[in-house]
């Protein structure tokens, strides 16, 4: 971790990217990302000037001296994908922004930033919420699940596999948001009808027009998961 920022696992290398994404390798990579979520902060970076401190108290003192009148970031602990995670975050930061810029988790996507498109959907205490509309500080003590956590859980492999085989994506940017909504639906209703699926996904917008294939994928996943249960 450098300057309060986890280096995202997906930072490209210069070597030839002979990448093979399969159900298992993607699952493994998502698992690695979840594992890399740090439990404790080791550095405290001033968001205003970039200076790094070894303790929160030192950083607060730095604020008093150098940025008098500015509100320093706060320390919070999130329960993220089953892991406790200590974070330094500015009070007005959304959960979406925190996931990306503090933890390098970019499965929740920035699209509308207005709570309309569902691309940034995560699950908080069992409810699908829009992480662009929820402050990170509001999430303290709550159970947060992101697409990375869902993808890292073998239980949901059939759902991810069905999404891929049915092409329930084109450009794929909104897809994690749909999958999180789908998982949240199946948590509540393991055997949804097609209409119930459509209603559960009504808050997710896909510009590529993949709508019909989500229901197909989810119905097939439900069948596979039932058979495997």
């Amino acid at each position: 971790m450098i300057g309060g920022l986890v280096i995202p696992t997906g930072v490209p290398t210069k070597e030839s990217e002979q990448v093979t994404y399969t159900l298992d390798t993607a699952h493994q990579k998502a698992s690695d990302m979840v594992k890399s979520i740090p439990a404790n902060l080791t550095e405290y970076r001033c968001p205003l000037c970039g200076q790094v401190f070894s303790s929160y108290a030192d950083m607060k003192e730095h604020y008093e001296i150098n940025h008098y009148g500015s509100i320093p970031p706060v320390m919070i602990t999130l329960k993220l994908n089953g892991k406790l995670c200590e974070l330094l975050v500015e009070p007005h930061w959304t959960l979406k922004r925190t996931l990306q810029f503090r933890l390098g988790l970019t499965g929740a996507k920035h699209m509308c930033d207005k709570g309309v498109c569902g691309s940034c959907t995560v699950i908080v205490d069992g409810r699908a919420v829009l992480s662009c509309q929820m402050l990170a500080v509001e999430c303290e003590g709550k159970e947060i699940e992101t697409i990375e956590g869902i993808a890292a859980n073998p239980k949901w492999k059939p759902l991810i596999d069905a999404y891929c085989r049915w092409d329930a994506m084109q450009c794929g940017y909104c897809t994690p948001g749909f999958l999180v909504s789908a998982k949240n639906l199946l948590d509540r209703n393991p055997h949804p009808t097609e209409q119930e699926i459509r209603e559960a996904l009504a808050g997710n917008i896909c510009i590529c027009g993949t709508y019909p294939r989500h229901a197909q994928a989810i119905m097939e996943a439900v069948q596979v998961m039932s058979e495997g249960a």
Partner: protein, 777 residues
Amino acid sequence: MADIAGVNGQRENFRVVGKHNLPGKLSYALATGIAKFGIDYVLPNMLFAKFLRSPYAHAKVLSVNKEKALAIPGVVDVVTWDDPDMLSIGGGFGPPEPYLTNYADYEGCEVGVIVVAEDEDICEEALRNLDIEWEVLPHSVNTLEAAKDDSPLTCLKPEPPSMFGPKEPKKHNVTHVVTAQGDVDKALKESKNVIEYQLKLPTFASHIPNPPASVAWWEDDPYLGEGPNMHIEGAVQRREQIAQLYHMPVEKTIQTGLFQGGKYCDWGMRKSQEITPLLARRTGRPVRCANTREETFDFLMNERYMYMKVGFDDNGLITAIDDYSVDDNGSLGSSAFGGAQDQGYGPYYTLRCLDIRQQMDVVDTNRGKMYLSGQHCPFNWDSGTMAIYLIAEKLGKDPIDIAKLNLHGPTSQEDPNPVPSFEACLETGKKIMNWQWHKAGTKKLPDGRMHGASFRYQICPRHAFSGYDSKLELRDGVVHMPTQGPCTGIFAVECNAMVVAEELGLEYEDISIDFDYREKFTPVGGGSDGTTASSWVTKECANILKQKIIAAAIRNADNPPPPSMFSFGKPQTPNPLKGHKPEECDMIGGMVCLKADPSQGVPLKEATQENIFATYSGRPPASIWSTGMGKMLDTMNSLFCEVAVDTDTGEVEILRYCTVADPGKVIRPTSLESQIDQVAYFSQGCQLLEEYVYDEKTGVRLTNNMIDYKKPTILDVPDVEKTFLETRSGNAAYGASGISHSLANTHLLIIAIHNAIGVWVDTPATPDKILKALGKA
């Protein structure tokens, strides 16, 4: 069949091509959220940048005092348009122009200043703290008003040279463009019937799902030679363009990301995707610049007002077409697609009518920008759809019969023969729809709503402009297909891999698609070139590889390596290929085998240990679409829809939406279906939901967000019924042509609504407009 020019063009049996539900090579990364798009990259010690955006529709920045901004903690750099660095990038023909200017010709346009800071909040604070002296200029966001001689001058800069731009000198805000064939005035005068009508082609947003963004940094790498290397992510499929912008050798320009998000023919780079290397060079740190959603409301299509006169005989045969259009040219640098560029590819040349005139006033406005695009291809197609409907309505005939009467034959406008693809689409479509035409406003459904129907045809385009350089490799018994990323959602590399598997007797999963940004091959091209033409080239390459593999397998059989120490003394299996000639061998079921008896063969992994390469550069024969420009026809498609209109509430329900399309040959059906759904929803959106609303007084766009600008959701869209015909009369792989955006339309639903209620409603046909048209609001 046209594809006889290619190897194996007449293949009859397909094992892999045409198969459903083969996952995309990157799909698992996309679904699990591990895929990174330009906007997702976060690097240690990264800075953030933001452009100043014009709050005015037309303005100049006269001066900027940046002292207060620079004094804000966390502000690292403030760059203005007159900084010498602004001349260090860019270039091309003519004298150097600054990359960023102090001139804005639409609200929200990047202008004058870029700030760089520790985070985006600080960037915004810095922008608020700039002391800017603006010269606010008169503007117009009303295309028809801007076309008038007494309107404000909307653009003060000369039009840059453009391969697509109008050529005639501009008068005030207007460039007049004319193309004509025959004598339209005479033909109209002699026509037995003339209809006049107007239609407005709506503007709608390109709506790239992932807001354009890039992150760049500079680094040394001895493997890439001396000097710094420019690493950028988020420049999408424009690495070479970025290299050119920064005067860098392309081999020292690195972009390894594989995911570029939705690009619906909106290929124009935004400044946020270009500027980061400069800022990273200035600051010595990685820099990220991202558009917000509000900053990503560029046009996918400019608006156009069409004034039509169509002459026709008593049987419905069109005898004259006079199209006068007023077209928004948008702000400086907008694409001419959708404007003058369409005149050569419009619907009119598919008709027997020989007297055609297209006049267009292309008007500069301050409405916004349309980057290179072509979602509606060509944009004015439904002016022809409308003519056919209106003639049918006037004569009490079925519009399908009017279309059949008017469509010319395969070879020219004088060709009297039917186009087989067109005939097949229509007959199939009529059966599926149980097509029973009725006159406007005459059919009430049992629930009291009014029933309307409409029909439309189009050409299946393949641009035929793109050439490809394919390379395949057999390495350690595995066939590799190297290709550049990043990829968009058309699953083109998957189409290529399916073709390679088909030709080599392998399965799709056997082909290793190796992404490497340094590779030459990338299956990107105009229209369906990216899937079907690239697949044609890959098919040729696969057959070259096949011949080399068979030759190597025979060499191995005739002169096998000595047995290893581990197999010494064990009986050796005789190699069935020994002594055979290459023409006696084939590749089937993962084996190199004998044609006469395919059970006699050797698994590919054992057939040869040689490292074998094959390359092929070229393109398939030119497509009829590109050479005929409507005057020759091969693969066609058709669309049918039925709506119910509630005359009490103004609500429209799409009852059926059905396409019968002939893409020549279906290569990857799942993605073809998806492409059709996409254009169906785009078309629905622009006809029923989406609208740019301006405050004409200030020139500010009021709907630059996804709350006020409504895209269809899963609950809004119809089930799109799809039937594919495979006449194999296209020019690319196996006779494929593809579909491109040809099913996208601006008036299929509008016509169906008219057929239901008997009055015209402008786009978007929202309930309030329908009630107003019915005199109820």
